[in-house]
């Protein structure tokens, strides 16, 4: 039997839910279903959708490759300033994305700290699809790192210690024990990372610009259509909402199921 909150609180709580939900209801209501197929299959919409999926998937893969070691370093390696380093990782989560875009430009733009030297080598990042991916990695990497840190800290290191005491090398321990045990945290983290990358707007438009087929991702296309064809903007927004819903269902549905399983197990 759960302890119910006081009745007054429940009313305010329902209001809070409405604040979150009403805009989405309005969005769905605003879609003209008869025009939807046409709006979604225009060349510019398809370009934007294709680019968004390609770049967001690439960014997610990069986050996996660099974010997993980063989470391990932050949780399993003792070094001075570790807790400060852990909070620095959260910086892209809390600064406005447009600030992230400006920071990326200062670093990798044509006259940037590193971009200047890359330019001499003939490598130009700003205003390319690579810049889109970099902006997405920058804003979404913290999601993966935070999810993995949580998974690593909750589980502790007892299984890894067992593996080492059975004579396994650190690499074998990582590959055969740490990684498999991280899979649930990884899946949840990757789904959120992908969703954040797919929705990235501010850093992308600042650092990568808005060039159809090259840097104009779906959120940028929505913003552009809003000026010229609001109905198309609504239709494209709906696509992003549907993707987000799928993502939430996958990431949080799993977690809730596990929690329910545990509670049932405790009662049994």
């Amino acid at each position: 039997m759960r302890v119910r909150p006081p009745a007054g609180l429940a009313v305010v709580g329902i209001l809070g839910g409405a604040v979150l939900l009403v805009p989405f209801v309005a969005l769905v209501a605003g879609v003209d279903l008869t025009r939807l197929p046409g709006l979604l299959s225009s060349p510019s919409a398809l370009d934007a959708l294709g680019l968004s999926l390609r770049t967001a998937l690439t960014a997610t893969a990069i986050c996996l490759v660099i974010g997993t070691p980063l989470a391990l370093v932050l949780t399993r390696l003792d070094f001075p300033g570790r807790s400060f380093a852990r909070s620095l990782v959260l910086l892209p989560l809390v600064v406005p994305p447009v600030v992230g875009g400006i920071a990326l430009t200062e670093a990798f733009g044509r006259r940037g700290l590193i971009g200047e030297h890359l330019q001499l080598l003939g490598i130009d990042i700003a205003f390319t699809s690579a810049a889109v991916v970099m902006a997405q990695v920058f804003v979404s990497l913290p999601f993966l790192v935070v999810a993995l840190e949580g998974a690593l800290l909750t589980r502790g290191e007892a299984h890894e210690r067992t593996a080492l005491s059975l004579g396994a090398s650190p690499l074998r321990t990582f590959l055969t024990v740490t990684l498999p045990l991280l899979v649930p945290g990884l899946v949840a983290g990757l789904v959120l990372t992908f969703a954040r990358a797919l929705g990235e707007f501010g850093a992308t438009i600042t650092f990568a610009g808005s060039l159809q087929g090259t840097t104009r991702t779906l959120p940028l296309q929505v913003y552009l259509e809003r000026e010229t064809d609001p109905e198309a903007a609504v239709a494209l927004s709906l696509v992003l909402v549907v993707v987000a819903l799928v993502v939430i269902t996958v990431a949080y549905g799993r977690r809730d199921r596990r929690r329910d399983d545990r509670q049932t197990g405790a009662r049994a």
Binding site: A158, R161, A163, S165, P180
Partner: protein, 220 residues
């Protein structure tokens, strides 16, 4: 090569001093014997096992296992090179592996070469600890007693020169404790072992000698 080297025990001579935990313990274990460490909570029993396992470096002290120095002021052999088996009250089976794969995990160290050999040795061990029929089960599908039996097989199959047992029976249902205790008495015969326990019955059934660690002084 079977990996069961029963009787291959080695004498242990150890001293562990960790002032910040109020731990100062010295004892020896004769070859193939089991030493029980008893004492109140906080007396440092588990600290001693952590030092022997290689998880905690004591401020001063030493441990000599046969002709090998596990640690002293100049030496520190990392856990994975110690050949020391560690069993706790939590079996800590790898949840994504079957019972057979769990036991096979440590067989490389025991010198068992080849996948098929490792499978055969793992199955032998599972049979020996009474869970031979569970070879393809994962830990989530086992009872606490079955999991601890599998963990016992895993740690002994890896051919440790020293076995550390940290309250190995304290998380089990009361009705299976006598059976697992009997199993431990059987498989530990001839192995150099350090057993940490709160229970007199464990000392009587499993140990050849006992050392009581006093409670740390209140200031520690």
């Amino acid at each position: 090569m079977t990996g069961w080297r029963a009787g291959a025990g080695t004498a242990l001579d150890c001293s562990v001093v960790v002032p910040e935990r109020g731990v100062d313990v010295t004892f020896t274990v004769d070859e193939g014997q089991t030493m029980a460490l008893t004492g109140p909570n906080g007396s440092g029993k588990s600290t001693v096992l952590s030092a022997l396992a290689g998880w905690l470096r004591p401020e001063t002290g030493h441990a000599q296992l046969g002709d090998r120095t596990l640690f002293d002021e100049h030496t520190w052999i990392p856990a994975r090179r110690r050949n020391v088996g560690y069993l706790t009250q939590d079996p800590l089976l790898f949840p994504h592996l079957t019972a057979e794969a769990n036991v096979a995990f440590g067989l490389a160290r025991a010198g068992v070469v080849g996948r098929r050999n490792r499978r055969d040795v793992a199955r032998d061990w599972l049979g020996r600890v009474g869970v031979g029929q569970l070879a393809s089960r994962r830990p989530g599908e086992m009872s606490g007693g079955q999991a601890q039996r599998t963990a016992i097989a895993r740690v002994l199959a890896s051919g440790p020169e020293l076995v550390l047992l940290d309250e190995p029976l304290s998380a089990l249902d009361a009705q299976v404790v006598p059976q697992i205790r009997e199993l431990l008495a059987e498989v530990l015969t001839g192995r150099t072992t350090v057993l940490v326990t709160h229970h007199e019955a464990d000392v009587v059934a499993l140990a050849d000698a006992a050392t009581t660690i006093p409670a740390p002084p209140p200031s520690a």
